[in-house]
Amino acid sequence: MFVARSIAADHKDLIHDVSYDFHGRRMATCSSDQSVKVWDKSENGEWHCTASWKTHSGSVWRVTWAHPEFGQVLASCSFDRTAAVWEEIVGESNDKQRGLSHWIKRTTLVDSRTSVTDVKFAPKHMGLMLTTCSADGVVRIYEAPDVMNLSQWSLQHEISCKLSCSCISWNPSSSRAHPPMFAVGSDDSNVTYGGKVQIYEYNENTRKYAKAETLMTVTDAVHDIAFAPNLGRSFHVLAIATKDVRIFKLVPMRKESTSTGPTKFEVQIVAQFDNHNSQVWRVSWNITSTLLASSGDDGCVRLWKANYMDNWKCTGILKGDGSPLSGSSGQPTAMSTVVGSSVHTSQNALNGMSAGRVGKRAPFAPPVRQLTSSKIYQHSAYY
């Protein structure tokens, strides 16, 4: 179903993040070698590195694209306690022919006292806003009031999360029914500190972000977090990479018009998978939030998909080095006993077995068998 091919990345050290632009034609990677590379996809589908430059004086943890409506803009964050905003400019006349582009630093955000662990642009409809989170547990929201001048960023909000932050994700919903909202995860491994995922929501009246929810059931270190593209759904879906893959559903409760507090959510856990064994490092949603990819300590990339009954199951496993998976299961034998989570135990066992193949039809009542098809003739009389 999926085929992987290798690209010569030519980074001199571990790559920490990969990020696509809005159209999926450009890509940025960042690495411990302190550089960021920008890749462009040619018409034949090949990726070419068109820019590579030293961005920070430490490992670069994350890189992210702004919406193209704001220009070709990247943000990066690093162990060197800074985040930076980069913009592509039209360089020397022959640069384009040589397939190179030129990026210049527009600003360095130096407010953090510790390693900046994640950087994300807010959804487009909020304007050009950038969020960082850092190991000292502070989330900072910057805004570029003038989108033509990317060197000016003002620190709008500083939110202390009390716990060392590792990742942040904006709720991408542009619906007016949903106020701006983001989730922040902590990699603090001390279980006694409680929930490691906090959700903050913007309050129109106070003009501040207030904590709307803490996912108390997630007590282990969280390595990545991702809101699913909302796509007009009435609820939000959040994927969390902790010691397992978890998918939460946040259903906004009907709000009384008088209440001014943050939205109350009904939090449901819809899936929990420990197939990765031990830690899960990253989660990523596809554009319709119907496919989730995760990577973990088993060195595999797993694809998850829900059926009509909202039952999530594994539809594919790919080895991290792109090689096909031998054997039907992606786990070491010693690991297959680990299976068994609180939610979908039997389902997990099934995943272990059917993994790697095209998923079988899910065990639920099939949809209605036959429908009208005949009226073509009869109906065409009307036209």
């Binding site: 999926f2 085929v3 992987a4 091919r5 290798s6 690209i7 990345a9 980074h11 001199k12 050290d13 571990l14 790559i15 920490h16 990969v18 809005f22 159209h23 999926g24 034609r25 890509m27 990677t29 589908g45 430490g58 193209p68 039209v90 006349s93 796509l231 007009g232 759904r233 009435s234 609820f235 031990s278 830690q279 490092w281 990253r282 990523s284 596809n286 554009i287 319709t288 496919l291 300590d297 060195g299 990339v301 991290g320 792109g322 031998s326 054997g327 299961s329 070491p332 010693a334 998923g359 009542a365 429908l371 098809s373 005949s374 009226k375 003739y377 009869q378 109906h379 065409s380 036209y383």
Partner: protein, 868 residues
Amino acid sequence: MSGSKPDILWSPHHPDRYVICDSELGLYRIGPVGSAETKAGTLPLSEETAATLLAINSDTPYMKCVAWYPKHEPECLLAVGQANGRVVLTSLGQSHNSACKELVGKEFVPKHARQCNTLAWNPVDSNLLAAGLDKHRADFSVLIWDISSKFSPETSVAADKIRLSSVDLDSSTVVTKPLYELGQNDACLSLCWLLRDPKLLLAGMHRNLAIFDLRNTSQKTFVNTKAIQGVTVDPHFHDRVASFFEGQVAIWDLRKFEKPVLTLTEQPKPLTKVAWCPTRTGLLATLTRDSNIIRLYDMQHTPTPIGDETEPTIIERSVQPCESQIGSFAWHPSSQNRMVVVSAANRVMTDFTVFERISLAWSSTTSLMWACGRHLYDCVEDGAEGVESMIEKDIATKMRQRAQSRYGHDTVQVWRNHLLAGGNDPQLKSLWYDLSYILFDDDVEEMPAQRDAVYLGITIIEKDMECWSGSDRQTDVPRYLSEERCLALRLCGWISRGPDIDVEIFLRTLEQEREWERAAAVALFNLDIRRAIQILNKGATAEKGDLNLNVVAMALSGYTDEKSSLWREMCSSLRLQLKNPYLCVMFAFLTSEPGAYDGVLYESSVAVRDRVAFACMFLSDAQLPRYIDKLTNEMKEAGNLEGILLTGLTKDGVDLMESYVDRTGDVQTASFCMLKGSPGDVLKDPRVQCWIENYRNLLDAWRFWHKRAEFDIHRGKLDPSSKPLAQVFVSCNFCGKSISYSCSAMPHQGRGFSQYGVSGSPTKSKVTSCPGCRKPLPRCALCLMNMGTPVSNCPGTGKSDEKVDLTRENKLAQFNNWFTWCHNCRHGGHAGHMLSWFRDHTECPVSACTCKCMQLDTTGNLVPSDSS
């Protein structure tokens, strides 16, 4: 090391062999599972690998520590340190080797017996074996033995010569005189030779770390510390050393030996092993007692830990290679990030690879990119491979395909949209048929007052129900008829327009579609058993027909009214075993009491439209609304698009669609479907607006810009309020008025100007000037003509590769006349001229302007992916 605690050593030369030592030594060979499977006695280590026991050596009791001889020859020589301080050379297998023979069994005995804590072979001068012993009064605790020396201390000369001269096999194999004695009056807990200089030995003494130099044994460099256990040199960075004490690891830099460059976070339990990864720089693995977790510290990013104030970066992570508690582990010497782990009890072994953390991202076009280590992998969904994969295809892929097949755009034959969607989704099929019935019912057109009802669906119609007439045709089953019920039947597609209920056309089309069971059921519901039987017979005899249908027909023909007949009894019990839902409901209908048709009405596998039609015929005015309400709520809850028949494009329909979108994410269908709803009511719903915005955003992300534009046009037709205003106004340089000829853009001049536009007035031809002040428009930067003059073919571009076909050229010619300008430098001219200029140039054609007009916009250079 306690006696029973196992340890692992990889062979320095054979990448597939290792030794486990606990109470005895066991040599294992590791291999792929497939090849070893047939052999008995192999132990699975992982999915792919298994180990075979090659040899066991239990000659040396009281083992405390083991070290593997680092040179190739003899290859399987091991030094074993014992509880009494003796060091014994032993071997596993291959003892026939002569070079080995003379060494095996040799014993090195210290003056005073005490525990031997550690052993270390010199990596260069491999005759030297260092042993670290417990303290014994003022005795030395670090002894360096020369393995080639004989028992008599006199003969211990230079190592090279010894090998040639050692022929005396009969001599006792006990050596008592060490080559060097170090660390007087102290205890030695760990040892390692420094890689930067093989004459230097680092020893973890009682309360300090000491570096002994064999060239000058009287001197030592030392630093007082508690962290003296498990000293080990980073194989990739020879000045970096790790040692530990209790739960804390200290990292030292030998060039700055005064204090540790860093200490790692303390573990609650004491550490038992610390090892540098031999295949990756700066990766340190640690193990604590009674744990099944190995912690990894990645110090990769500090090649020079000396750095002034820069704190080294450490990424900490833990891996869990197996379920049981780990006794020990050993990195594989050459395989990347691989280790073998042995459990604390029972010698359970696991082959384990530590994977790099993979970061990943989906692109908008459903391709997945991930980074593993320093490599990137691009993963694309493989294109069409049969029906099976079509079912499994993700909605994102489906929507892309449907967008390209112009799904939703057929406004004349609305039902055809389900074919454009691929024609294999029963819900979409039902939806588009419903919409085409609802939107194009003639009666509704005849009654303009009811025009609004088009969007309403059956629920509303049912509520209007006033009159009914029971009719009795040859049976006692009461059937209900009214104008509204007829309309409902028509919406269900059972009957065509006309005063009487005639399902014959419908039956015939069903027969053509080979839906025999359904046709039979419909016939039966119209109380025509004979026709039903006839249909079933036809179905049985038809090509590839199901002969069982004959049996069903037979059963049908036995229908009897008798309440207590055997037929009735059998039918009601056996019908549940019928697989086809229509056959099932036929018998349910025949065996039910009039008015109690739950067996038919709640058979969820039967199409909603058939159930509704059935209900309209057989349920009373009291029952019918109740049933319809219930069914509607069920459909709304499930987000079943068949329910659109019931709700129509009303608020209820939006509710239903909301659950459908929640479930599937198919905003495409939702957008197109709701666009057909009434603009005032449904389209204003924020949810509908949200779906439409999301769908447009999807199209944009896919670079289906043409499709998005088409969608906007389509939307504009159905929802005039969505039409955007003019985007650009160009004002005259002199008078400041808009130079547009369109009257709508010039509200003041209104009608007069439009006359001026269309009439053949002489001013019309003067398009090269501003309509307001008649001053000339700016000139094209290339042809230097005033804008508004038709473009002449530029001679410079008459290249051979521009043999465009005529129609296309004509289309382009119009476009060539357009105004165009760079928003950056404000220079411009005829679009055609500018385009051809930038084919060969990067800078603006205006002299002294260095603007790179064409490269300014990266998105502008992207090609729409849906252009033909």
